[in-house]
């Protein structure tokens, strides 16, 4: 069931990715991105295949799988798909829903402009990527 625009804006304002935006900016974001819903067990991004988008989870959970092996899970407020878009390369992992999922979706070609329009989102993304890089390095050592 889709939320009202008002509820959606409230939900988005509570996600860390959008937490530094003004209310009118969050409303714009809700307008620019498309709300989508997926059942459990659906593959949203496919390892090695192009044709992607940027997704922000508003409810539910996904598993990140490389060569069929689960590596991580993402939940509310997490995002995925930006790596492939920004690198211009196919995804290196499958992203599969573990249960009913609700996301906001932005088409790949729109991501750069979106980030330029909302520097606080870019800054949040930068912080998250830094954390991912730390974790990846910790793993390896």
């Amino acid at each position: 069931m889709m939320m009202s625009q008002e509820e959606l804006v409230d939900t988005l304002a509570g996600l860390s990715l959008f937490s530094n935006l003004s209310r009118p900016q969050v409303e714009q974001v809700a307008h620019k991105m498309t709300e989508e819903s997926y059942p459990a067990g659906q593959r949203i991004l496919r390892q090695g295949f192009s044709g992607t988008g940027f997704y922000v989870i508003i409810d539910g959970e996904v598993a990140i799988k490389i060569d069929g092996e689960e590596r991580a899970r993402l939940g509310k407020g997490d995002f995925f798909g930006e790596m492939s878009i920004l690198l211009g390369e196919p995804p290196v992992a499958d992203v599969v829903t573990t249960r009913q999922l609700r996301v906001l979706h932005l088409g790949g070609p729109e991501l750069e402009e979106f980030l330029r329009d909302y520097p606080p989102v870019m800054y949040r993304m930068l912080k998250t990527l830094a954390l991912r890089l730390r974790n990846a390095s910790r793993w390896r050592s």
């Binding site: 870019m122 800054y123 930068l126 954390l131 390896r140």
Partner: protein, 161 residues
């Protein structure tokens, strides 16, 4: 290495650099060729040329030490460096590559050491100047994000082997 030592062109150029600091225009044109600064505004470029300093490192000299909290980001203008964790060599970086950004972004200690592999000239950008650039110039922030994304992916792929 005997050939490198008797090749007069590179050492001569380095001497020139060390003795005569580059003008702002020369610095700007050197910076414009660095991918991290591609497409940034002319104001950002001017600010960068003004605030960033050039630093020289001798072969084997540590530029960044693992465990220390970082105070800045480095861009290699001429030379090459080795990225080390403990005694493991993680990567080798050359002209136009940058390092040290992670510690500036998350204010945590450096996760690796970086050592000059040869005589190396770096551009050093202080934390506050870097963060000011991130906030004022979306093109720069996007370049930085792209750099991080590439590293996250490389780290992940490395892990798979």
């Amino acid at each position: 290495m005997a050939i490198a030592e008797t090749d007069g062109s590179r050492p001569a150029r380095r001497c020139y650099r060390a003795e005569v600091p580059r003008s702002l225009e020369e610095k700007s044109s050197a910076l414009a060729s660095v991918p991290l600064f591609a497409g940034i505004s002319s104001q950002s470029m001017a600010r960068l040329a003004d605030s960033a300093g050039e630093v020289e490192f001798g072969p084997g000299q540590f530029i960044v030490r693992q465990g220390q909290v970082g105070t800045g980001l480095y861009v290699i203008l001429d030379g090459s460096v080795t990225v080390l964790r403990g005694s493991d060599e993680l990567a080798r970086l050359g002209n136009g590559d940058f390092f040290g950004e992670l510690s500036v972004i998350d204010q945590q200690p450096r996760n690796a050491s970086v050592r000059a592999a040869e005589q190396t000239t770096c551009l050093a950008l202080a934390s506050w100047d870097l963060l000011a650039l991130v906030e004022s110039d979306p093109a720069f922030a996007l370049n930085l994000i792209r750099g991080l994304v590439g590293r996250v992916r490389a780290a992940g792929e490395h892990h798979r082997h």
